[in-house]
Every structure is written in C-alpha cells, then in structure tokens.
Symmetry: C2
Subunit: 205 residues, 2 copies
C-alpha cells in the first residue's frame, strides 16, 4: 500500500500484527481512531500499555489478576479444596459465567502441543502438582478443550496426579443442549450413547 | 463478562469500541498482546497515540500527511491542473495503486449524507471551489463511490463547479474487468449498454 504518511503507515502496521487483522482492516481501524477525540485515542493506547506493564498473575492459580492473589483465590465462600484446571483466563471466565462452580481454579497457561513446541515444562503443571501435594484437595476437575492438545494434556495431567489418591474428573462430553441428533458428529453421538446416564440423573437440579 | 482484572476489562472495553470488534474478539486481541514483549506492546500503543497527536492534513488537498503540504501536492512531476476529487485517504491510496493517474487530489473528508447529518459545510467543498477559482485547473475528475451518498455529492459538486467552464468528469461505470455478464446487476449492465464505447477506444493502451 502507498501511504501518504509515515505515522499512518506505522499505526497500520502495528494493527496488522494482531491476529486476524490484515492491512485493509488495520487501515479502517486506524482511520476510525483518527476521527476520534485525542483524549479517547490516548485512553485507548494507554489502556493497552498499562495492561501489559502492570498486569499480574495470581501466585496460587496463575489467573490474570490486578493483585498478587486473585479475587477467586481470596474469596471466603469459594471451596479451596476443589480445583478446576483450565487452559487460560478465557476458560475461567467461561466457567464463571455458568454460575455452577464454587471451587477455585488452576490456569495452565496453554496446552501441551508438540507441533507448536509447547511441552509440560512450559505450562504451570509442576505448580499444580506442588499445590495438590501441599494443601488439602478433595477433587481435581480437568476442564480442557476436547481437542488433540486438550486430550494429550488431560492424559499427562492424569498420569502426574493419579498417585495422590484424589478423585480426578473431567467435564462431561455429549450432545449440547438444544443440539439436534441428525447434525451431531458420529464420535460425539457414539460417546454420548456409551456414557449414557440414568434419566433421573440427567435432570437439571 | 466476568473479568478477573480491572486492567484487563479496561483494555477489552477500549478494543471493543472499534468498529466490527465485539467483546470476544477484543478479549482475544488483548490476550494476544499480553503474550507479547512489553516493548512491542508499548510500540503498538504509542504508534496510535502519536498518530493522533502529530498527524497533519495537507493544506491544499486535505489528504493525511506528515507535513503541511503532502508529497503528492509538492511532487514536481504531478500535473497540478488536473484535480481528482475523492472521499477520503483510502480512495487516494486506491487511485495511486493503479499507477494510471498523474494529477493531484482533493480529499472531501466524507460524502453528503443527510441520514448521518453530514451536509456540504462539513466537507472540504468550499475549499475545492476556492482552489478552482484561484489556480489554473483544466479538468476536475469526480471519483466518488457509486452509492446514494456518492451520487448526491456528485450532483452537488457539479452544481457548484459548472460555472467555472472547466470540464468536470466522473470515472467510468460498467462491468468490471473479469466480470461475468450473467452475474452483473441489471442497472450496471443496462447503463454499460447505454454508455457503450467504440471497440478501439476500449482497448487498454
């Protein structure tokens, strides 16, 4: 692209580094910002810079936090003996949005993925084992994505955790609520038949 | 959404103000930035702040520029007597990319749009008339989008410019190169039949 201004070119190139944002979208976003008040644009830029400079990760669960310990780990009414293991902070938000979970979390910071060069040592797995070894835990819920990386990580975590004699569970897989059988893939449908539950257990309490 | 951090929430909300970016996309972009080096993120934020603070608009053609006069208006080899009137800087870039135009530009800064409350006084139309009145001009090319707003603006500009006795032209409309007739809309196809040109004129020189 032929830019009429170096400043414009720099800003567009920075935006175009974001995932899923190409040069044309970047230009559209930058021109949108150019039409805004100077203060608004400064707020935008500073919010991002400040986030990166001042963000902390909870020392216990590694979730993104403004303090050394996150709000969930310090909340009195959360059950500290139930740990839900998730990939990243988005999954914490997703589980929190359900209002169905009252334990605490452990954020791995990713999934084991040999293709991307991510091994167990790159994730907060040792710190999970440490946590389980040093504090009373009555259940570990593994809530990972049902992908190849998720399954690999599940298997590795199970191997590391099974000697503690603590129940290790995974979230249920099956047909989604509102899902139609004819559009479900055969693996999900097949597994949901094998792992069928008594009708009275399936009722939402 | 339940954010675990105020800093995170602020950054996501700022991103979500951008056109076409919702809360989920904003969160994805912010988490992407969080994984980057602090310096990279500072460069991103500062490029935007600096752009908004230091950007100038060319005093002659109103295109975005780093200086008081843009590179096109100051270039010796551009024909200052041919003015191409466009909506915004993206259109300047689009025309420049064709390498088929050697005159100068006039950026209106938008199109007349009563629906959005944009009238002629909000655009650089008076400055175009002033420019035509005070300097020698041999042709004015109106290169505006073929939308309702574009046509309204075309008509208004023609009314304001016709007394100067200077040829006012618009870019050709018709079937795009590579376009198939069966998929063309009837208005475009109909107009392209009415405004047909002798075959020898249609050859690209």
């Amino acid at each position: 692209m032929n830019f009429s201004s170096k400043l414009l070119e720099d800003a567009v190139n920075e935006f175009a580094k974001l995932p899923g944002v190409g040069q044309k979208t970047a230009l559209r976003l930058v021109l949108h910002l150019l039409n805004k008040e100077q203060e608004e644009v400064s707020n935008f830029g500073n919010a991002i810079i400040k986030l990166r400079q001042e963000i902390k990760h909870c020392a216990v669960c590694h979730n993104i936090s403004d303090h050394l310990h996150c709000e969930i780990c310090t909340a009195n009414k959360r059950d500290k003996e139930v740990i839900c293991v998730v990939e990243d902070t988005r999954d914490v938000m997703a589980v929190e949005n359900t209002s169905q979970y009252f334990g605490v979390y452990h954020v791995l910071g990713g999934l084991i993925s040999p293709m991307d060069g991510v091994g167990p040592a790159d994730l907060f797995i040792d710190s999970l084992v440490q946590r389980v070894a040093t504090s009373p835990v009555k259940e570990i819920i593994l809530a990972l994505s049902a992908t190849m990386e998720g399954d690999t990580t599940l298997f590795y975590l199970y191997k590391r955790l099974k000697d503690f004699q603590i129940p290790v569970t995974t979230i249920a897989r099956g047909i989604a609520f509102g899902g139609e059988l004819e559009y479900a893939d055969e693996i999900t449908l097949g597994r949901s038949i094998i792992t069928r539950v008594p009708y009275e257990n399936s009722l939402i309490r």
